[in-house]
Structures are given as structure tokens and as C-alpha cells.
Amino acid sequence: MISHLPVLQVIVPLMAAPICLLLKRSQLVWLFSLFASAIAFIISVLLLQQVMTSGVISYELGGWEAPWGIEYRIDQLNAFLLLIISGVSTVVLIAAQTSIEKEIPKEKHTLFYILYLLSLTGMLGIVSTGDAFNVFVFLEISSLSAYALIALGQDRRALWASYQYLIMGTIGATFILIGIGLMYQMTGTLNMQDLSQRLPDVAQTRTVFTAFAFVIVGVCLKLALFPLHLWLPNAYTYAPSIVTAFFAATATKVAIYLLIRFTFTVFGLSFSFTTLPLQELFLLLGLTGIFVASSAAIYQKNVKHVFAYSSIAQVGYIVVGFSTSTITGLTATLLHLFNHALMKSAIFLALGAVVYRLGNVQLSSFNGLGRQMPLTMAAIVIGGLSLIGVPLTVGFVSKWYLLTALLEKGWWPVAILILLGSLLAVIYVWRIVEAAYFKKPLAGSVPVKEAPLFFLIPIWLLITANIYFGIDSRLSLKVASAAAQSLLGVSP
């Protein structure tokens, strides 16, 4: 069975989804999907172990060898992302049953879990496949289920946000499809490994430039990189809390994975960064993204909006790290992927707990919440500190590496800008802290109890992991740097 792990990773949640439809009882479905997700997580741990010891795993679906059939190709980078996605999904699912009780009508619970599993499948599929067109298919699975999940939010604005996401997402996916088509036309293959070997021969043609541009723009639409981020804040804010926690931690990560995969593996480092001004472009967009989104976050009244904008800013950090294209920079990017997933899922889960008790997450209703829900608020504060990059949290580790990478490159003005960006994060986190701990509860508001246990367990699991990896970052660092080295073609 060990040799089948790469495909089982995707197949387990996939097959669980239709089975859920047959089970029908929502309690049972919850347990079952939790089970499936946990198995996926275990598989991803095994895969990571296997990859770290024995190198790249290739799995030929249908027994057809690579350029003719579809290949699953797991290297350090994939395995790392698979771990993040399935891990977050499992932890978040623990809280799902309690959370959606309040937010989604009873008869739709089963459908919710099915869509959740399908979305998980889509993301895992995108990450593990080594075939460019297969990426498109699984991208659509994850996007379609994402649209439906977001539309399940209570507010009617959820519908509108979901529609906007659908339009943007479909344009993005179609752009990727055009890009893949053009690449295929120039090389005659769809397999990524094969593409990377055949593309250099035709790298100087205008068609390949266009293909590259379309793939990158399409991915950036999904990624919510700065000028293309408009769909994200509302989608995250009005979606059910569980969905937000899951997507904020994983969806953009998958898009970043695609960006890395296409620029580094498929088109190759020299093409992406020497022939094209991609480096400067991404640096610029990343930095603008950090400042625009962080400043926007400061003025938000809805706490979910605050953290949604902060997600866009974090994408900015990630892209800046990526644009250095050095080993340290890439390590920082990958570390930040992991760390951001830890913080954002914890924060949004905690917000989910607040929604569970209060029914909304307006900033004004946070007043005095620090005393009423101490554990939940403490989690939000630790998550926020981590977003700022305070030592002893994971945020510090990745920022540290990012700054090192920038200084290595000699880009010290950028490093200063990054530090300034973190100051903005201090402001928006402070506003929440201020409301929660230093303001009196609103007159006439009913005092609330601490969040239920099913929320606290996953939240504090994530927070503990956050602090643990903040103090002892050897493990995550080892994996991230191994992945970065393999991407840049340096033998470890």
C-alpha cells in the first residue's frame, strides 16, 4: 500500500465525499469526514517522511508512463504543502459541527461536509499532480466547491461575494487554460517535467512569453495578489466561519504553490527571472500589496474584514520573499506559507467561536470580550502577535528569514519597508486588543460564556503549534530549506 500513497492522498477524501451523500445523518457525516481528513493527514505525514529520506516519488496513474499518462510527482515542496493542507483541514473540521449548527440550516449540513471534502480533494489534487491540465481540472473542483461553500454564509452579501469570486475565479482558470494551451502548442506535452525539458528549446518565442503571462495572471487572480485581490475580503468575511478558517489557511497557499511550480519548475529559473522583469514586478506588487492591504485593514469595522485584508498583506510578504529567488528567500516564503496557515486558521477559528457566542464580529461588539471569553481572545492575541512577528511566535521566524534574505541580496530599503509594514500590523491588532481588554462591555449587551470545548481544542492546538514552531523551528526549517534547495536545483 505504501507505494500507492500519492494517489491515496487525493482519493481518500474524494471517495469519502459521495459516501457522505449516502450516509445522510449529519453527525455521522461529520465524524466520517473528520476520519477521512485525518487519514489524509496521516498519509501526508508518511509521504513527507518518505520524500525526506528517499527523494522524489513518482506515481504513474493508469500505469501509463509519464508524458502519455498522468503522473503524480511528490517532491519536498508538494509534500510540505500536502501536510499543511490536510493538517489544517483536519484541525478545522473538529470545530465544524459546533460552528455550522448556528450558521447553516440543518438540512444543508451534509452538503456542507461534502463540499468541504471536495474542496480539500481539489487542493490536494492540484498540489500532488505533475500534469499541467490535471491542475486545471482539480483547480475547478476546488473552486466550484469554494463558490458553493462561500454562498452558504448567512448574510446575503455572501451570495454576492461568491458570485464575484465565481466570475473572477473562472476568468483566472480560463486564463490558465489558455496558457496551458499555448504551452502545449509549442511543446506538444502536458507533463510538467517534460515541459521543463522541452520549453528551453522554444523559450525565445513570443508564444511562450504569452503563455507564461497568461498562466501567471491566472494564478495571481486566484492568489489575490494586490491589484487582483478585490474578490477576497468579502468572500472571506461573509463565508461561514469554518470555511473562512479553512480557506484563509489553504486556498491562497495552493495558488502560491502553483506560482512557484510554474515559475521555478516548468518555465525554469533563468527564463522567469532573467529574461523577464518578473523579479521587480513581483517585488513592487508585493510591497504595494502589503501597504495597501494593511492600511485598509486598519479602517475596517468588521474583524473578519480586518484579518481578510491582513491575508492579502501576508500574500505580499510571501511574494516579496519569492521574488528574491535565492535559497534563503524561498525558504522564508515556504516557512511563511506554513506559519501563516497556522496563525490564520487559529484566528479565524477563534472568530468563529465569537460568532458562535455573539452572532457577529463587529469590532464594537468585541468590547470587554477579553474577560468574558478569555481563552478565545488570548488565542486571537497570540495569533495577532504572530502576524506582527513578535519573537517566540512563528511569525518572527519567517520574518527573520525574509529579512536575512533581503539583506543578503543587499535590498535593505525593502527590508525597512517590510518592517514598516509590520508596524501597520501592530496598529490593526492593537485595535482589537484595545476593544477586547480595555473597553467596557456595551451597555445592554448580554454577557457571554467562554467558547465551547470543540472550538477551544482546535484553536489551542494551532496556537500551541504556533508557539512550538516559534521556539523550535528546526523541523519546519529543515523541510522548507530542503524544498527550496530542490526547487533551485541545488543538491542538499
Binding site: 500507492h4 494517489v7 482519493i11 474524494l14 471517495m15 465525499a17 459521495p18 459516501i19 451523500l21 449516502l22 506515481y59 504513474e60 496513474l61 493508469g62 500505469g63 501509463w64 508524458p67 502519455w68 498522468i70 440550516p105 438540512e107 444543508k108 452538503l111 456542507f112 463540499l115 471536495l118 480533494t121 489534487g125 500534469d131 491540465f133 490535471n134 481540472v137 482539480f138 475547478e140 473542483i141 466550484l144 466547491s145 463558490y147 458553493a148 454562498a151 452558504l152 489558455i178 499555448l182 502545449y184 502548442q185 509549442m186 511543446t187 506538444g188 506535452t189 502536458l190 522541452r198 522554444v202 518565442t205 513570443r206 508564444t207 512569453f209 504569452t210 503563455a211 503571462a213 497568461f214
Partner: protein, 320 residues
């Protein structure tokens, strides 16, 4: 063009035209699908939606300049990209010389069915097709999550009466339809099994099957159609289709080969391939047919609900 109805009609024409183009370009399977899906199912769905939302469009265009800018930029980028493309139709372009020749030359030996598109679809790239089935399944679940109205309230006597009287006018068409439906169903089965030899296969068959049921629903009313095919039954079939497809892969895995390696399904590789393709085509057909029916039912149900509300409002308004 402000009239959405006309827009949808023209979209149908565009779809038919592009399907004819696909035939001219030798893509018979694609033309088959595009005709059934683009001209048939999507046009119908759009029509239903228009009847719910109304058919006029506001004249204002917002941000036309920005749109024009984006479009001109993207378009010129693409035109720029075409300059180095291999010319249309030349036989030594890279796509014709790298991966595809194996499919054309070896598929008869390796898979053993004459329709190369089917053998690539169902065997070489079976996982893509699996993904496609899951996409359709996702869409079905998504539409259900958005539109299903839970327990249907007991049919209001009055509204059903109105509903029935509305169908009386379609006497001729009802008879013709009754004659046609068995033929369509039979034809769907033919397409299902003939996919190995000619254009067709599970997906197309599923769509045709669903089209027959939709035709029935349109003429005899949703309530009647629901009696024939109820919601949980369709859900069961949709899930069963995906599971069947996946199980083929799992069985081949249990037999010691890779996922979707049909060679392991029978002692003779070619026989295994045949068996595998037959089964997965069934899976595709089941899922597609049931999901299409499911989507249409949900749309029609919303429409009916809305109309009933309007009628009740009208009746109340009259009595006041």
C-alpha cells in the same frame, strides 16, 4: 441587445455554430458534447433563470473604458503570442510529433478500441476524466446546497390545478413527446455503448438521457416527474456513479497494479482495458445524467415556488 431572451437564443446559435466548426475540425466527440451541453442544457438552464429573474437588462454599462483597456491589452498580448505559433493545419507542428503519435499508433494494440479519443479519455488520461466527473458532481451538490428548499410543503390544491390546466394546450406536443421519449432513452443507451467505436460515450449519453427526462418534466410538470424520479434516488445514483468510477481504480490497485491500471482487471490486458472502460463509462453516464436532472429539478422547483408565491399574492390582492 437589451433583451436577455434574445441573448440566450443567440448564445444557443453560437454554440451550434461552434459545434459545426468542431465537426469540420474532425473533433466529432467534442461536437457531440458541445451540441448536447452548450445548445441544449445550458440554454435551457439560462431560460429557466430568465423566467425567474425577468428578461430586460438595464442599459447602463459601468466602467466600459476599463473593460476596453483590459480587453485590448489581453487581446494584443494574445495576438502577439500568435506570431510564433505553428501555422494552422501543418502536420509537423510539435503537438503532432511529440505525445500524440503514440496514441494514434499504439492505442489499438494497447487499449484495443478504435475510437482514439475514448481510449485516451478513459485509459491514458483516466484520472482527468475522473476529475471531470467529480467536477460535475460538485456542481450538482453546489446547486443543491444553494437552491434546495428542504421539505416541500404539501402541494397547494389550487396551484396544482392551475398548473395542470396549463398543460392542456400542449396536446399535440404531448403525444409526439410520448412517442419520442422512449426513442431518446434508447438512443442514449446506444451512445453509451457505441462510444468505443464512434463518437459518444458516458458523458454524452448521460446528457441525452437527462435531456429526455427534462423534456418530460417540462411537459408533464415537475410534480409528475418527481413521482417518477425522486430526489433521494437521483442523489443515490449521482454518488454511485462517482463511487463506481473510483472503485474501478481501487480494484485495480488491490490487484497489485497502479490506480486505474485496467490491465490488472482481467487476465488479458486488452480484455481488462475493455472491462475498465465499460465500467467507468457507466460511472460517468450515471453521474452526469443524475446531476443534470438534479440541477434542472432544483431550478424548476425554484421557479415553481416563485410563481406560486406570485399567484398567491395575486389572489390575495384580488380578494382585498
Amino acid at each position: 441587445m437589451k433583451d436577455l431572451f434574445a441573448v440566450v437564443m443567440l448564445l444557443g446559435i453560437y454554440s451550434l455554430l461552434s459545434a459545426s466548426f468542431f465537426v469540420a475540425m474532425d473533433a466529432v466527440d467534442v461536437a457531440f458534447t458541445e451540441a448536447a451541453v452548450g445548445a441544449g442544457i445550458s440554454t435551457l438552464l439560462m431560460l429557466v433563470v430568465i423566467t425567474i429573474t425577468g428578461r430586460s437588462e438595464k442599459t447602463t454599462r459601468h466602467k466600459p473604458l476599463l473593460a476596453l483597456l483590459v480587453v485590448v491589452f489581453t487581446g494584443s498580448m494574445l495576438i502577439y503570442g500568435t506570431f510564433d505559433m505553428p501555422y494552422f493545419g501543418i502536420a509537423d507542428a510539435p503537438i503532432h510529433s511529440h505525445v500524440a503519435p503514440r496514441y494514434i499508433q499504439e492505442s489499438m494494440k494497447e487499449v484495443g478500441i478504435p475510437n482514439i479519443v475514448t481510449s485516451v479519455l478513459a485509459s491514458y488520461r483516466a484520472f482527468d476524466t475522473f476529475g471531470e466527473v467529480v467536477v460535475i458532481f460538485t456542481a450538482g451538490i453546489g446547486v443543491m446546497a444553494l437552491l434546495s428548499v428542504g421539505r416541500r410543503p404539501e402541494e397547494n390544491e389550487k396551484t396544482t390545478a392551475i398548473d395542470d390546466s396549463m398543460h392542456e394546450q400542449y396536446l399535440v406536443i404531448r403525444i409526439v413527446t410520448k412517442m419520442l421519449i422512449p426513442f431518446i432513452l434508447l438512443y442514449a443507451l446506444y451512445v453509451q455503448f457505441h462510444g468505443d467505436f464512434g463518437p459518444g460515450g458516458g458523458f454524452q449519453a448521460g446528457v441525452i438521457f437527462a435531456a429526455a427526462i427534462i423534456l418530460y418534466t417540462m411537459l408533464f410538470g415537475l410534480t409528475t416527474a418527481r413521482k417518477v424520479i425522486n430526489q433521494s434516488f437521483i442523489q443515490f445514483i449521482a454518488a454511485a456513479g462517482v463511487l463506481l468510477y473510483g472503485c474501478v481504480g481501487i480494484v485495480s490497485m488491490l490487484n497489485g497494479a497502479n490506480f486505474f491500471d485496467y490491465n490488472a482487471l482481467a487476465s488479458d490486458p486488452v480484455a481488462g482495458q475493455h472491462l475498465g472502460i465499460l465500467l467507468i463509462e457507466w460511472g460517468v453516464g450515471c453521474t452526469v445524467a443524475s446531476v443534470m436532472i438534479m440541477i434542472f429539478f432544483n431550478f424548476a422547483e425554484r421557479r415553481e415556488m416563485q410563481q406560486n408565491n406570485e399567484k398567491i399574492n395575486n389572489i390575495e390582492g384580488d380578494s382585498l
